[in-house]
Symmetry: C2
Subunit: 156 residues, 2 copies
């Protein structure tokens, strides 16, 4: 176990690294993301306090995700094959999150994606720029803006 | 453990069921899928021989996926919380598959999605109609057809 201070914008992991680690976020905010062939970023996951951010590639295979810090953060770096994989309940929960994310990406409307996002990450909407939320949701910033207005209308 | 024979088109699980099970495919082919608000199907996963098909919703929560048989199949029905969750290595592998799938849905070109599909499911392309492969990949049948031609060109 290895506690590290990470500055905003610092990159913890690049795509293609071997023996990538897992990061438990003690404070601050990480994200994992991929970059497509046109150079566009797609956010895979946000990691606020108490979340674990990692790439599930096998330890001897190159990983697929970049991980960086969106805020100054304190994280605990662990080996993927030890502590992380022992915590079975957390892993099952993670599978649930991933399944939901795939369903959302395939089939949900912008408003449903947005509402699922704010229930999953209640504190993130205020902490990251709008274009990153759109990237996570797989929609355009314009569609996000429309979904937010629609959501506010429902609340009234 | 409970071995059951399933007819082609038979539905094993509907969205919204509680206490949904996991299905180990002994022979045949299952799929899991979701239906969006316009009635369009989106295939979450194919389950050929030896795959486990399930919905990772918690047992006391309504599940999100439908599961049916694309061929006459023999499957072993198990409780999600017992045998399945004990097989830790399989679960970690499943997380890897889900991560890859999200990355593909967010950011990969049609040709990359297609090539990843045939490496993940080498026997499925001949067993299901093309529109189902397009549904799984999140692309139109026309984009699938173009990707297949491009793939064949590379092989020459």
């Amino acid at each position: 176990m290895n506690k590290i201070n990470v500055k905003k914008k610092q990159i913890l992991q690049s795509k293609g690294s071997l023996h990538s680690k897992a990061y438990i976020v003690e404070s601050g905010l990480l994200r994992s993301y991929t970059i497509d062939e046109n150079g566009k970023e797609h956010i895979f996951m946000f990691g606020p306090e108490d979340w674990i951010v990692t790439d599930y590639a096998a330890p001897d295979e190159p990983c697929d995700l970049y991980i960086d810090a969106l805020e100054d953060s304190v994280v605990i770096q662990i080996e993927k094959n030890t502590e992380l994989e022992i915590d079975h309940k957390k892993i099952i929960k993670r599978i649930r999150v991933l399944q939901k994310r795939i369903i959302m990406l395939m089939s949900a409307s912008a408003i449903d994606r947005y509402e699922h996002f704010i229930s999953t990450y209640p504190t993130i909407a205020q902490r990251v720029p709008q274009y990153m939320i759109a990237s996570y949701l797989g929609i355009t910033p314009e569609a996000l803006s429309a979904a937010k207005s629609q959501h506010l209308k429902y609340l009234k």
